[in-house]
Symmetry: D2
Subunit: 206 residues, 4 copies
Amino acid sequence: MSLISKLSEQFGRFPGIGPRQSRRFVQFLLMQNQSYLDDLSDSIAKLKGEVSLCSSCFRFFVTNGSHEHELCNVCSDTNRDHGILMVVEKDIDCENIERSRAYNGLYFILGGTVPILEKRANGIREKELKSTVTERGEKKELKEVIIAFSLNPDGEHTGDHVVKLLSPLKEKYGFTTTLFGRGLSTGSELEYSDSETIKNAFTTRR
Amino acid sequence: MSLISKLSEQFGRFPGIGPRQSRRFVQFLLMQNQSYLDDLSDSIAKLKGEVSLCSSCFRFFVTNGSHEHELCNVCSDTNRDHGILMVVEKDIDCENIERSRAYNGLYFILGGTVPILEKRANGIREKELKSTVTERGEKKELKEVIIAFSLNPDGEHTGDHVVKLLSPLKEKYGFTTTLFGRGLSTGSELEYSDSETIKNAFTTRR
Amino acid sequence: MSLISKLSEQFGRFPGIGPRQSRRFVQFLLMQNQSYLDDLSDSIAKLKGEVSLCSSCFRFFVTNGSHEHELCNVCSDTNRDHGILMVVEKDIDCENIERSRAYNGLYFILGGTVPILEKRANGIREKELKSTVTERGEKKELKEVIIAFSLNPDGEHTGDHVVKLLSPLKEKYGFTTTLFGRGLSTGSELEYSDSETIKNAFTTRR
Amino acid sequence: MSLISKLSEQFGRFPGIGPRQSRRFVQFLLMQNQSYLDDLSDSIAKLKGEVSLCSSCFRFFVTNGSHEHELCNVCSDTNRDHGILMVVEKDIDCENIERSRAYNGLYFILGGTVPILEKRANGIREKELKSTVTERGEKKELKEVIIAFSLNPDGEHTGDHVVKLLSPLKEKYGFTTTLFGRGLSTGSELEYSDSETIKNAFTTRR
């Protein structure tokens, strides 16, 4: 197989990229000079070497080559509230929440959702979540675990799953579990809102 | 002007209808038989005669010809909680909230919004709102006024306006004013939510 | 049934209008004054009385009350080329072609298409087309019949059907049948064009 | 700058990719194993080494390492008609035309368009086009040059420009220049077609 075809296929696995756009990517690269390609190639090859998975929250973070410290910049920041842990699905959710500047506690990246049609959770960090929560609980510093998933069937199912998973630890260590609030979100129009959103907006009026 | 052009122009004033679709409406009518047209014509001419504006909430309601009673079916329903009043922009918002079966109190149709760039409120029922609230207040039956507008700049501006408007009456009659709750709405994804929605979802977690 | 519901249902039959928009139409009418409703009601009731179907091309046209003349303004216009007849599906196609000012012949409105899955043509003006063509043929004034349907499966199928239908008359009266040309249309991009369009654009290059 | 940010920025230059999607690409790569990244990195670094620019049509083609032959598989195919040359904007247009199997001649990739607001052509292969045409003309094998650009203002402007550019050679070597045909394209509906398309479809009826 030619490199043109192979590269098309490789880009075709990127999230949201179909065969047509992956061919456009290859054409785009063919038009660039070699130094750009070398640079890009280099970034990709070295990406994982300069990045670590935080041993506490499981976010990817930049280590600058040295792998001594295992904690990311958020988990090792003593100005943040170590008494609150927010469980999210993926790194990008966490980035977006940071951007809002609403939250000053710590995170835990679950690494996926529990789809509504599956009984068992696959490939998500259940054991790791329990051990992070246990560790914090033993230090008597954990006050609250916030469950922050998207408001769709898989997200709600995953929320229920995490609540159940943490239920024994919650009693043992005395923290609360909360769910992200529901109601009208930016742009919600009353004329077009679904009944669930209206119920939530009514129940959480303040 | 021919009736074809005139009718095109009349349909062109309908909400969301451009010149192309209004011409399609006319073509559609030309293809129907005369009895359908007579029927439609009749419904339009008699529409307002069989409908009244409720003197308390200002919703349109069907009177079946007799104009004796001035109150709509919601306002005259003794099974509903007359201690709560929900202020909405328009009839269709009210219909949608009824569909959710979340609410059992009364309504008040403001009849519009106060656009964010305007200082003065035009064409909305300010006087009527104050008089309905005063009347309920005098009867000592009003516990809460819920402000329920869309979550966009005009809706938020109108909410602020109504809160200020009711502020003297609130003190006098001892009711509370609440706003529809904010947070994640059905379909909200954390990755794509704006900062305002994330802040709200965090603040109203429960 | 209340007039609100009835009128909602009547508007719901309009082309492209769903239940939500038909309710908005009713709300819109409720907010207008009675003279607007009377005017609209009047236009609808009288529409067909002031409009006739041209006995030659079957377009709707305005008669201004008098039903003496049976021919529309196009068919009775001696400055137009009576030797060319363009067969189209519906009145609006004809209006759009007139707007382009590309054509100076006459029209024939077929009144529908022959869907690709149906063997028989239903509700289209086959007999009327043959009789209009025969009449023109007898006068020895017909040089060309242009088949102008949309370029989609139903349109192509209808084109084939009309060509076959006219085939005996074509031999008898010596006119030609042509199809609207195919190739790139405004906005066609070569990168995204389908193979059929590219083939046509290649074959009809000039 | 971290590699995560750098790579985000590099992907952000890909056609059609905004900052959000480029971050998703980086997250996606972080989740893959190192061998996938090495493979991708390798393909990108070697891409241009295994690909040449055809010296006649200026398409990119796979050389399999040996750079001996300068002609691509189309230009060196003796079964194709060397008497016709189709001038297109870019490689992907050419791929799409090949897919239609409508054309059996040769190509010339102009490498861009002449935007309608610019007097001068920048960065397109004018000199190369003239020299390819001259070479073919001298061999007395050139019968036709087909101008095949998208049907939008820039494409039409570029077509005019190429026609003028080739005009002296056309007289000298006796070939014709043709433009891709215009009319209805797949999906064109007569009700919604613009006047230009209707004019073209009428003029090119057959």
